[in-house]
């Protein structure tokens, strides 16, 4: 009894503490100035910004540049608020502090329906949930570049950090010149007064860093001179003359090279090696290191040599006996069949986890009047690999108990933790340099290769070693976009409008598996619902009175990961193809049909209308071609695409032109938004036409580009992107361009041939 009272009391006290914590405002994201390392003459203002003696500014860059333009857009936010030229903002590597973590990703992972979470109509539950998760994410401080959140996450904190520095500089000038703050201007890196006194930032920095900022206000939209302008990227010159440094290009003194071979059967391990001594005697070859199954990687071996080629030749020559995983091997064909069955069953039996419910679907189906029609379809999508053009690699040095890592990674904190664990040192003994990424697309949200590189570097007597996977290892040991299936059923009224919509999808949960690999302390014993594989079905805007949108989370044993646009990548194909089927069943124009369902979603309707209008929708297509349309919201942005498609010899689809419209809220850099739309479309088209990974008895069948083609320049369509002017907060742009292209092309193919393709890929 007493013990129980005590426990209850402790629980109440704990709960009270938790409530108290939850009620406190979130910790500031300004960051302590002590976080920035200083060189001679530099003055730090907060965790993000320091000023050099010459008046130049340095920004702690916490996000990885993988093509999406963060090395341009994040400093633009700072340059805007500080009123200094973008060319005077230098980037330095952000450290390990929690202030550099990504809050927006965690807030976006909540499975709220957009109609409850859009600005202006957020419900109390949404506000409360987002508040608590934002606080929690701020405390956890997990640093990741992903989920199209770099601008979304930096939007307030970075501008505020810069505006605070500006206020301090003005405050210091006011004190020094004995002039009112209101009369002091900042322009182009110079603080000045109409009387003629002026000073650059460096001249004021020493005094300003200790000056209270007072009330800090962000610049009003009307005063922006940089945000919203088509500003050239800061990295284009270095990326056009060979001087840009990717992970594979770091060359520390005394560098050795390692090549990796993992068990070809996913989850297997090397046993006996028949010819180890003979291979190690080859010229240039130094040693062999066994690699454990760590951080999600399949076990294997690495050979260290004096060049990547010597290492590759040697590791390929090893006669290795491999052991299959004790848990058995995976087979993609069997998994596809089980996913289809799971989706069908869940549709029929109200199974799966319902992410969205509206009205009463069963009653609506029963009560459908005369003239009502039922449309049902089953859709499926295959496993996909990432194929970042820079294959997986990492460079590491372990010397005197200190670990230095150069990694092209999207997750510096996880990379650091893996490095520390592999070397058996504290994380503070790890120095991490994030290089440029030769593509990420989600593959580099896993850092298994960092653990491998450090394991090898422990065996090289203090010399740095660059570990490189061959393209074949990269393709066959990826964390794949999960295969998926969805069963969809709609009942249309006599007017063709859907009365009800039921969807049941099935596919492997990604987040729990990713956490087990990268953040094991966050991975629970039971999988929590994973929005990332259900997104794109339950969260779309169509106004259908009765809905049940559910997902069955499976666990197939295939290593699965985040792939550009994640669940949206296949779910947009499922839903937007199905909506097209409904329009066809209703004998209505696909654009007009959608618009009738978007009366309550003016932003979506405007995006769809813009794409339709710019594409010439409703006018005849060029001979032999047909148009298809798709609309999809993801990562806080709304995208519509119209694809113009013909069939080449052998029934191969040829996409000639894509018209893309996007509302991504406030645009920071329109040129980069257009670039990301082009990139997202080519990426999605590559998958739609060519993508598919098959696994037989645990072995990935596609190994290099001939077996798994990527879209070529010759196949690339003309792409026209149109931006909707908006004053909403910024949404993402790295991923939202990808989801609509597969259904737009599939819908065009249907218009062209009358044959509905319900599986990806769309070839043949």
């Amino acid at each position: 009894m007493k013990r129980r009272t005590l426990l209850l009391g402790a629980a109440a006290a704990g709960g009270g503490l938790l409530l108290g914590w939850a009620a406190l405002p979130p910790r500031s994201r300004l960051g302590d100035r002590a976080l920035l390392a200083l060189q001679a003459g530099e003055v730090a203002f907060n965790g993000w910004i320091k000023v050099a003696a010459d008046g130049g500014v340095a920004l702690a860059m916490n996000r990885s540049e993988m093509g999406q333009g963060v090395h341009t857009t994040l400093p633009m936010l700072v340059a805007e608020e500080l009123d200094i030229g973008l060319d005077r903002v230098r980037l330095v590597q952000a450290g390990a502090d929690a202030v550099y973590g990504n809050v927006a990703t965690f807030v976006a992972s909540l499975p709220f329906h957009p109609r409850d979470s859009e600005p202006g109509r957020r419900t109390a539950a949404v506000k409360g949930g987002e508040w608590v998760v934002a606080k929690l994410a701020r405390e956890l401080g997990i640093n990741m570049t992903g989920a199209s959140t770099s601008i979304v996450d930096a939007w307030e904190p970075l501008r505020l950090a810069a505006a605070t520095v500006r206020a301090q500089l003005v405050g210091a000038a006011s004190l020094r010149w004995r002039l009112p703050k209101e009369e002091i201007a900042v322009r182009d890196g110079v603080v000045s007064h109409a009387s003629g006194v002026h000073a650059h930032f460096g001249e004021l920095a020493g005094a300003a860093a200790g000056t209270p900022a007072g009330d800090v206000a962000l610049k009003p939209r009307a005063a922006w001179t940089l945000i919203g302008r088509d500003t050239p990227r800061t990295d284009v010159v270095a990326k056009s003359d060979g001087s840009a440094v990717y992970g594979l290009d770091v060359r520390p003194e005394g560098l050795l090279y390692a090549a990796v071979r993992m068990c070809p059967v996913l989850g297997g391990a090397p046993q006996r090696i028949g010819n180890e001594d003979e291979v190690l005697r080859r010229p240039g070859v130094q040693r062999l290191v066994r690699l454990p199954a760590r951080a999600g990687a399949t076990a294997g071996v690495a050979v260290v040599a004096r060049s990547s080629w010597h290492a590759r030749q040697a590791v390929e020559a090893l006669a290795i006996d491999w052991a299959s995983p004790p848990a058995g091997t995976v087979d993609s064909q069997a998994i596809a069949a089980s996913l289809e069955a799971a989706a069908r069953d869940a549709l029929a039996q109200d199974g799966g986890l319902a992410y969205h419910r509206r009205g009463d679907v069963a009653a609506a189906e029963r009560g459908a009047g005369p003239g009502a029609r039922t449309v049902e379809a089953l859709y499926r999508a295959p496993y996909l690999a990432h194929f970042a053009l820079e294959p997986i690699n990492c460079t590491a040095q372990v010397r005197d108990g200190h670990v230095t890592v150069w990694a092209p990674t999207q997750v510096p904190g996880i990379a650091r933790a893996h490095a520390a664990r592999a070397a058996g040192v504290d994380e503070r003994a790890v120095t991490l340099h994030v290089t440029l990424l030769g593509g990420g697309f989600g593959r580099r949200l896993d850092a298994d290769f960092v653990a491998q590189a450090v394991a090898v570097a422990q065996e090289t007597g203090g010399r740095p070693v660059q570990l490189l996977w061959s393209r074949e290892e990269d393709t066959t040991h990826d964390y794949y976009r999960p295969a998926a299936a969805a069963a969809l059923k709609a009942v249309l009224g006599a007017d063709g409008r859907p009365l009800s919509l039921r969807i049941a999808s099935a596919g492997d949960a990604i987040t729990p598996r990713w956490m087990e690999r990268g953040l094991p302390w966050l991975a629970g014993p039971v999988d929590l619902p994973d929005k990332t594989t259900a997104e794109g079905l339950f969260d779309q805007p169509y106004d259908i009175a009765h809905q049940r949108i559910a997902h069955v989370a499976t666990r197939s044993g295939v290593p699965v990961g985040y792939w550009r646009s994640v669940g949206h990548s296949h779910n947009a194909f499922f839903l937007e193809s199905f909506i097209d089927e409904l329009a066809h069943a209703a004998q209505q124009d696909p654009v007009a049909y959608r618009l009738a369902l978007l009366a309550g979603s003016p932003r979506h309707a405007a995006v769809l209308q813009l794409a339709a209008q710019q594409s010439g929708w409703g006018r005849p297509s060029p001979a032999g071609r047909a148009r298809g349309v798709a609309l999809h919201e993801s990562f806080g942005s709304i995208v519509a695409q119209v694809a113009e498609v013909s069939l080449a010899a052998g029934g191969v689809p040829r996409v000639h032109r894509v018209v893309c419209a996007i509302d991504c809220g406030t645009v920071v850099n329109p040129g980069i938004v257009r670039q990301q739309m082009e990139g997202g479309i080519v990426f999605g088209l590559s998958a739609a036409l060519h993508g598919g990974i098959d696994i037989v008895a645990g072995v990935v069948q596609q190994k290099n580009f001939p077996e798994q083609p990527l879209l070529t320049l010759a196949e690339s369509p003309r792409i026209e992107t149109h931006l909707v002017a908006s004053e909403h907060p910024p949404g993402g742009v790295g991923e939202p361009g990808t989801p609509p292209i597969a259904p737009a092309v599939a819908n065009a193919l249907f218009a062209l041939t009358g044959v509905r393709r319900r599986g990806l890929q769309l070839r043949g």
């Binding site: 993988m66 999406q68 990227r233 580009f705």
Partner: protein, 167 residues
């Protein structure tokens, strides 16, 4: 042995190389010229493209023994910040690169194309540039090659006219 790289004879220590070693790894790991990239190792993606006597070659499948006395040009020899090649200017104008990893190879293939065909059609570009780009810079690559071709045809013009809208 010596290699003629970007207009200079570069000595190669015999013990560091092997006649079977692909040129790509000689450039990257022996000579520290890292602008040419490894993407596939089988000559399929073109990230390793260099020029041998002006002709584009996939250096990842070109053994050192096959280079012989031919002049090797890598991205480091195409032009620089002080004297950019017309293609590099066009690359900046059209804001071509995203991640940038494949761009060295694309530029080398494009440079070879423009010497062979100073005014290439879209079809010529499609046929010549078989390099893979995962970020989808293709439409801008095509546009930038046309811009560079126009600039080279009118050498007096200081800079080519800006496009109405990239690409």
């Amino acid at each position: 042995m010596d290699l003629l790289i970007n207009g200079r004879f570069v000595p190669l220590p015999d013990e560091a190389v092997d006649p079977a070693m692909p040129l790509l790894w000689v450039l990257r790991d022996v000579l520290q010229l890292t602008g040419s990239k490894y993407g596939c190792g089988i000559g399929a993606c073109g990230a390793c493209t260099v020029r041998l006597d002006g002709v584009p070659a996939r250096s990842c499948v070109t053994p050192l023994s096959a280079v012989g006395g031919r002049a090797v040009q890598t991205i480091e020899g195409l032009g620089g910040a002080d004297r950019p090649h017309a293609l590099q200017r066009a690359w900046v104008l059209h804001q071509v690169p995203q991640c940038g990893y494949c761009q060295s190879g694309l530029l080398m293939a494009a440079a070879a194309l423009l010497e062979r065909q100073p005014k290439p059609s879209d079809a010529d570009i499609d046929a010549a540039l078989t390099n893979l780009c995962r970020c989808g810079t293709y439409p801008r690559v095509r546009a930038a090659i046309h811009t560079a071709a126009a600039a080279l045809a009118a050498p007096r013009a200081a800079t080519p006219p800006p496009p109405k809208r990239a690409p």
